[in-house]
């Protein structure tokens, strides 16, 4: 027993030493000035584009055939020039740049491109983005620099989809990625961070920031604190958490517009929400500016349709405003008369509906509550209810729900599935059972046509009908708030999408330069 106690004493001494070591001031010993620390709110599931990692070109480690500039122009990346599209629109041919190499020095050829797309489309790989690429029938690599996509149907947005990163043939590697992009992978400490270093031989020029750390910190306040403390050089924050950093000398706050909207989806076959007059009146009663100002702390703009006014595809005729008087008039004319309890009625039915929102999402909850309170002023009873997604999905055809979608890249993205009658009742695609042959026709024309003018016309018409039918009540487009410490040249805000995995403002890091 004495020995046991002696051992404990030794351990105690060791712990005491460790304690002493800990209380010594920790300088940023192994931190060099050229390390840039990015605080991210969520960790990546994996680092393989085939399995769904950053398909929209924000990955830094990988290059796609094409890439996107902040102003959303699509330009060749691995491809030497824009692709050639066959007359019938079903064959798209890319030619690769010469001398392309992966980070491990192996050449990047059309076989790698072919492999990437085939692996993505193989159902056995359980890729989360497979349905985005369902238009592709076959990919072929007739020679080392040529890639030919054969499509099932003419699909204009295919070129936008080719921002997908290319992986070396035969790799389904999830954690130690080898790409060809501006940064090469160094290490991943799961639950903690990913370290990247600049690819000095990058075909597009070596990045000025030579070392990049992506640190994961899910809590918003923790990220804000660590930016203040100088531990993080940049992060993305909810507007309210960023408020305390505005006006500081060492920090710049960027409010980046996005195509990311929140909107209320109506089930079209239900007695109350199926009445266009009720939907229109509800839309008129909403004070969207107040939602943007208070709930989003100013980081948002009112929304009236699914396509962001910050993109070239927006139809400027799609606007709106708050007009409760007009809303009341509309309901009166449609036969919804005010009942004794300040709720309208028609044929013995109360003018009310249930509005679902995901219980853990405080933004959607606050929007639902605000919408319910606006609706009450015109005699509509909206009952917000917080549920988890599984419960929401089961009730989608019966009750309204606060949804969020939006992509700035191509108007075909998501909208085709959300409004085409062919997707009626399929999960989250068109759950309200919206069915309008004219909308179907416009969506099909927009997708198939290779002519920009014809596409623009089709989507302008589509937006107008969606607005007139008030299929959704669009509430707000969010702004994404980024904070960056220090001064850099070359930071160009673009328009973000709904999904943060695109990289947003941080997709441009390879071209940032510290201001000396």
């Amino acid at each position: 027993m004495t020995t046991l106690l002696q051992k404990s004493a030794t351990l105690c001494a060791v712990l005491a030493l460790a304690g002493a070591a800990c209380s010594a001031p920790q300088g940023p010993a192994d931190r060099t000035d050229d390390t840039f620390v990015l605080g991210l709110s969520s960790e990546f599931d994996n680092l393989n584009p085939v399995l769904g990692f950053s398909p929209d070109g924000g990955s830094l480690i990988f290059d796609g055939l094409m890439s996107r500039t902040p102003d959303l122009t699509i330009k060749p990346a691995l491809a030497a020039e824009p692709p050639t599209v066959s007359k019938d629109g079903t064959t798209v041919t890319f030619t690769l740049k010469e001398g392309l190499k992966f980070h491990d020095g192996k050449p990047l050829t059309s076989q790698d491109v072919e492999y990437t797309y085939e692996a993505l489309l193989d159902p056995a790989n359980n890729s989360t983005i497979r349905s985005d690429y369902s238009a592709i029938k076959e990919v072929a690599a007739p020679d080392a620099r040529t890639v030919v996509f054969s499509l099932r149907h003419p699909y204009a947005p295919l070129v936008q989809r080719t921002t997908l990163g290319i992986v070396p043939k035969g790799t389904l590697e999830k954690t130690r990625p080898v790409g060809s992009g501006p940064y090469r992978f160094v290490s991943w400490t799961p639950g903690d961070k990913i370290v990247l270093e600049a690819n000095k031989e990058y075909w597009g020029g070596a990045p000025a920031i030579s070392r990049l750390v992506l640190a994961f910190a899910p809590d918003d306040n923790v990220r804000a604190t660590r930016v203040r403390a100088g531990e993080f050089d940049a992060t993305v924050l909810p507007p309210k958490a960023a408020a305390g950093l505005r006006g500081r000398q060492d920090v710049t706050v960027y409010d980046v517009p996005s195509a990311d909207y929140r909107a209320i989806m109506f089930p079209m076959t239900q007695p109350v929400t199926g009445d266009r007059a009720v939907r229109k009146a509800f839309g008129l009663a909403l004070d969207r500016q107040a939602m943007a100002d208070t709930i989003l702390a100013g980081a948002g703009t009112p929304a009236y349709g699914p396509i962001s006014p910050d993109t070239a595809w927006h139809n400027p005729e799609v606007t709106g405003g708050t007009d409760p008087a007009a809303a009341r008039k509309l309901l009166d004319e449609a036969g919804w008369v005010m009942g004794e309890d300040d709720i309208r009625e028609k044929d013995g039915r109360k003018a009310g509906f249930t509005l679902m929102y995901p219980a853990g999402d405080s933004l959607r909850k606050e929007l639902a509550l605000a919408a319910a309170s606006d609706a009450k002023k015109i005699g509509l009873r909206v009952e917000p209810i917080g549920l988890d997604w599984d419960a929401i999905e089961a009730r989608l055809g019966k009750d309204a729900a606060v949804m969020g979608f939006g992509s700035p890249y191509d108007p075909d993205y998501v909208n085709y599935e959300l409004f085409h009658s062919g997707f009626k009742g399929q999960g989250f695609f068109n759950p309200g059972l919206y069915d309008n042959p004219e909308v179907d026709r416009l969506l099909e024309r927009g997708r198939a046509s290779g002519e920009r003018a014809e596409r623009e016309q089709a989507y302008a018409g589509f937006q107008k009908i969606i607005r007139d039918d008030e299929v959704y009540s669009y509430l707000v487009f969010l702004k994404h708030v980024y904070v960056i410490r220090g001064e850099y040249e070359g930071i160009v805000p673009g328009v973000d999408g709904h999904e943060h995995a695109t990289g947003g403002l941080f997709a441009g890091i390879p071209t940032w330069k510290p201001v000396a």
């Binding site: 983005i129 349905s131 999830k174 997604w389 999960g427």
Partner: protein, 326 residues
């Protein structure tokens, strides 16, 4: 020695049906869960993924098969050493456990040592100065600590030492900007989680040591030793503490379940990248393969803890015959 081997054999024989029962229970719970694992896998993409893709993932995972068949497949793979693929981390379960288990063992092992040494020292101090203000602070503190939830203690520690005083990092394994794993850096990041884990689990140990040392101090042989004029330190350490140590070991072993649950909370609060934190993510994501492996690991840790305590007891005192040993 033979007695110990026999005891180990008995315990292992008992552990196998127990672990099997645990897997059945877990499987039944996962089946009853209202959450859809495919949606958790897809995450935010669930809303823009076609139902056809969702269905094909479901089929690839075998979720469309009868429950018994799913269980048989899983159990067969487990017996063959294949733990399956984690759905929330999108990687093999063995890989995830492999890279995280070390960090958990480091943190809980350190906490266990700190708990052991700390409660012996503090409990003995309280017994030795029985009735003094020091004793009252220690006993009162132990009772208060027992009532405080681990997560609350963790958040309090972060608030005091990381936010207000800025002495220690609030979480993570290393400094955010450091690109290597440096031992001093890791040690600094370990202080708060290890201390919180150890302190949160040690109330009963402290109180137990105090009680038994007080008891022993009243015994004839201690009074005799004191009468012989032995130094006070010798009396306390050699005589009183020594007799109190044996049952203390068993008590330490019995604390294993609390230590496992404590580790889960502490790792989550301090973003410590261990297996315990992964189990929270696995549970939230209905990631059955990972959750199953981690639950088995947790159960095995509890069984092993008790076994080790009993072995230590038997080694220390050959007169002892523990349960199941003739």
């Amino acid at each position: 020695m033979r007695a110990i081997l026999k005891m180990v054999a008995w315990r292992v024989a008992f552990a196998i049906p127990l672990l099997t029962a645990v897997t059945i229970g877990m499987f039944a719970l996962a089946q009853a869960s209202p959450f859809d694992p495919v949606r958790q896998y897809l995450g935010e993409r669930a809303l823009v993924t076609s139902p056809e893709v969702v269905e094909s993932i479901r089929q690839n995972w075998g979720l469309d098969r009868p429950v018994l068949e799913q269980y048989a497949t899983w159990f067969g793979n487990l017996a063959g050493g294949d733990l399956g693929e984690s759905r929330s981390f999108h990687r093999p379960v063995s890989e995830i456990i492999g890279e995280r288990l070390g960090w958990t063992l480091l943190a809980t092992g350190s906490a266990l040592v700190l708990m052991f040494v700390g409660s012996l020292v503090v409990g003995t101090l309280a017994a030795w100065r029985r009735g003094s203000w020091l004793d009252r602070v220690i006993t009162g503190g132990a009772f208060a600590n027992e009532a405080a939830p681990v997560f609350w203690l963790g958040l309090l520690a972060i608030w005091v030492f990381a936010v207000q005083l800025d002495w220690l990092p609030a979480g993570g394994l290393t400094d955010a900007a450091s690109t290597t794993i440096n031992p001093a850096d890791v040690a600094a990041h370990m202080v708060l989680p290890v201390a919180v884990l150890a302190i949160s689990q040690s109330s009963w140990l402290v109180l137990y040591v105090r009680e038994s040392v007080i008891g022993v101090l009243r015994e004839d042989f201690v009074i005799g030793a004191r009468a012989r004029g032995l130094r006070e330190r010798t009396v306390i350490v050699r005589h009183a503490l020594r007799s109190a140590l044996l049952p203390f070991l068993t008590l330490l072993g019995a604390r294993m379940p609390e230590l496992v649950t404590g580790a889960i909370l502490v790792e989550t609060i301090f973003s410590w990248p261990g297996v315990a934190a992964a189990s929270v993510q696995a549970a939230l994501a209905v990631d059955f393969p990972l959750l199953a492996a981690l639950t088995l690991l947790g159960t095995a840790a509890v069984l092993a803890g008790n076994l080790l305590a009993d072995i230590a007891y038997t080694v220390a005192d050959p007169r002892v015959r523990t349960l199941g040993v003739g």
